[in-house]
């Protein structure tokens, strides 16, 4: 078998296709921790957690926030089926900040009837989105 030189990376959500490109490397937030994929990776099926995904083309990295879903890795392709995903430049920072404050208030409030797990996940999601959004702002000045 010929060794593939790049990966076909597809990222889709139930609503739309987000990425479909040839890339050199992908890092995925798997259920058991982040893992990187280079061309020729062993076949793998992993569940995703809430986290930040990036893919690299040459020396440029692109960030995407994802939450839940699955990633299928084959030697020459990576397919990510995410429940929710947003590219860094699409994140609505105001909305994410509002969600973060809401979740924090709910966690801090200690009311008896709140769903702590749900609030925790909401907080985690908003933090990931904010972190991803901040990376797109760094790029023009050339910094990683």
């Amino acid at each position: 078998m010929e060794f593939p030189s790049s990966l076909t990376f597809e990222l889709v959500t139930p609503e739309r296709a987000i990425v479909r490109e040839a890339v050199d490397e992908v890092q995925v937030p798997g259920a058991g921790g982040y893992f990187g994929v280079l061309p020729g990776h062993t076949p793998l099926l992993a569940m995703l957690q809430v986290g930040e995904l990036w893919f690299r083309q040459g020396s440029e990295r692109f960030f995407v926030s994802v939450a839940y879903g699955f990633a299928e890795v084959l030697p020459d392709r990576v397919t990510v089926l995410a429940q929710v995903a947003e590219r860094a430049e699409e994140v609505d920072v105001d909305r994410a900040e509002a969600a973060q404050q809401r979740a924090q208030a709910r966690l801090g409030g200690r009311a008896a009837d709140i769903d702590v797990e749900r609030a925790r996940i909401a907080l985690l999601k908003s933090l990931v989105r904010l972190r991803v959004a901040s990376k797109v702002r760094v790029r023009p000045s050339g910094g990683f």
């Binding site: 739309r16 296709a17 569940m47």
Partner: protein, 288 residues
């Protein structure tokens, strides 16, 4: 014979009907554009989900999850048929074609067929005719959300895993193009298995799973059912708007033709009256 005033009244009536059909056409066209974007956006996910699942389902033990069980091993029970119709009419033969197809499906089935209906038109038809309706959801297409598909999928999986249904099928209108809808029947459960490609199977023999295959399948399979359900609903929504647009366009054209005919008839009638009156005047003058 209708009088001139009657004719005028009829022309006015047809004109206002034409205004309504024209407005409906415009509305359908703009809704279609949105619905079309949604279904085109949703197709890749459904397609990749299916291919991922197929390639996996052929390589893992079917015992792993009940949704993978081969059809032969299922208990005897009714087939559950999910029918996706529109909530509203005035969209040509959109609903009636689909319901007719549902009728032939029920007629051809070798066992009893229970129904799950999404959309008011289908619900009304089947409950009025006394069919065995197990699940219904109406008023969904005005603001179609993933949660609608989730609740339908949950009902399907529950009926399937509890053994209440032997298998689950999905019947809906597929959006082929603006001018064309296609009625589609698909088996949703058990999940169809492909014959594994031999080279593929050798290549992928040592597949890694994270966490365990069982945990993944417990998550992946329900999601797959939801996805396919959601896609069917989006297909149907887009197809409905397309059908309505075509139907209303035809109606507007027909109304225009009708107005032309009526106007012609009215003018002839008016001319005839004038001629008759002239003859009366002339022959009256001659008689003097």
């Amino acid at each position: 014979m209708p009088s001139l005033i009657d004719m005028r009244r009829r022309i006015r009536a047809v004109t206002s009907t034409q205004q309504i059909t024209k407005a409906m056409k415009t509305v359908a066209a703009s809704k279609l554009r949105r619905a079309q974007d949604r279904i085109i956006g949703a197709r890749p996910f459904a397609r990749l989900m299916l291919s991922t699942l197929n390639s996996l389902a052929t390589r893992v033990d079917p015992e792993l999850h009940p949704l993978l069980a081969p059809p032969e091993s299922r208990p005897d029970g009714p087939t559950l048929l999910f029918v996706v119709t529109a909530d509203k009419g005035l969209c040509g033969s959109f609903n009636s074609t689909l319901l007719r197809r549902a009728g032939t499906f029920i007629g051809d089935a070798d066992n009893a067929v229970a129904l799950g209906v999404v959309g008011r038109k289908g619900r009304d038809f089947f409950s009025h005719h006394g069919f065995d309706v197990r699940y219904e959801d109406v008023n969904v297409f005005n603001a179609l959300k993933y949660s609608h598909a989730q609740s339908a999928a949950r009902a399907a999986i529950e009926a399937y895993t509890s053994g209440e249904a032997r298998d689950v099928y999905l019947l809906y209108n597929e959006f082929k193009s603006v001018l064309q809808q296609r009625v589609v029947v698909e088996r949703l459960l058990p999940i169809p298995r492909l014959d594994p490609d031999e080279q593929d199977a050798a290549l992928l023999a040592d597949h890694l799973f994270e966490p365990t295959p069982k945990e993944i399948f417990e998550q992946l399979l329900p999601r797959h059912v939801e996805t396919q359900m959601f896609r069917a609903m989006l297909e149907s929504a887009a197809a409905e708007h397309a059908a309505r647009m075509t139907a209303m366009d035809a109606a507007t054209r027909n109304a225009g033709e009708m107005i032309d005919q009526l106007t012609l008839y009215m003018n002839k009638m008016r001319q005839a009256t004038i001629t008759r009156e002239l003859i009366e005047v002339v022959s009256g003058a001659e008689a003097l």
